[in-house]
Amino acid sequence: MPVPDKKDLKRFCELDGWEQTEARSPDHDRYRKTLESGDILRTRVSHGRGPACDDPALWNRIWRHQLALASEAEFWEVLRTRRPAGRSPIGRGATAAAPQQPSMPAWLFEFLINVIGLPESDVLAMTEDEAMQSYMRHIGGQHPTL
């Protein structure tokens, strides 16, 4: 499924009963919703046109953790039906079924760029395993204790 446009995310917040908060900034509007459970959801929508975010992996985290939806399809269902999301307590957040998304720890990213001197674009193209192997080669094979 595609990453939604900013206008889609804004429309979702309107249809799902979110309030716009006062914490606006030159670049973003922010929205908040309190669920019956007492959970407080919050998200932001950047000004301008285009995708709500550039990265499917980030979008995955937004719908899961900020919008507290059980699935990405639930987001589009709200836009299609113009009705608030159901958010069953069992499916909310969908952490158990979360697919692995490509990412790497920021410290590793920064080490490869700032210490080893790799170009940012090269590091962004690496998997976490490849990045970790580069790091370990550089420090002499000692795996960091996580």
Binding site: R61, P102, F109
Partner: protein, 159 residues
């Protein structure tokens, strides 16, 4: 065990009590009536209490011509930018906005099941920003390498 200081006595001797708590590192309990109890702590003591709270930002690549995203799982926040530095600055701004929001709605957010556990990280980020150390706290360096020991037992370490 030291008895709490009454709020009226605290009002009269705010300066000395503050010095005691902050410079002499002695936490001070302050009581108002029979139920309200506060605790005055110095910065160093709060920092020590939060020492085991760390942040683990994750970097993700955008689609197409690039772009970088950073997700901060401890506070469910993100930053975006054309380059890493931009995404990082965006995330730090977002953390500051969230600190403001959380502390302005502290009672409500601490009651929210999905926000209550954020409190230590919010306080740590708040204190770090006051110390001008927010970037270093949100973006810590590499974890400590394992320490070579003669014994079999090793203690995991993490910043």
């Amino acid at each position: 065990m030291p008895e709490p200081v009454s709020i009226s006595l605290f009002r009269q001797r705010t300066g000395p009590y503050f010095t005691e708590a902050v410079h002499r590192h002695s936490p001070l309990a302050i009581q108002r009536g029979s139920e309200d109890l506060g605790l005055l702590l110095g910065r160093d003591e709060v920092w020590a209490l939060l020492a085991d709270r760390s942040f683990t930002p994750e970097v993700m690549r955008g689609r197409g011509d690039g772009g970088v995203s950073i997700w901060l799982p401890e506070l469910a926040l993100y930053g975006q930018g054309a380059k890493y530095a931009e995404a990082k600055a965006d995330l730090l701004d977002e953390v500051r906005v969230y600190i403001d929001e959380y502390l302005a709605n502290a009672a409500k957010y601490q009651r929210a099941p999905n926000r209550a556990a954020h409190l230590p990280h919010v306080i740590k980020a708040y204190l770090a920003d006051l110390r001008d150390e927010l970037e270093g706290v949100i973006f810590p360096g590499p974890p400590d390498p394992p320490v070579a020991r003669s014994e079999e037992v090793s203690v995991p370490a993490r910043r």
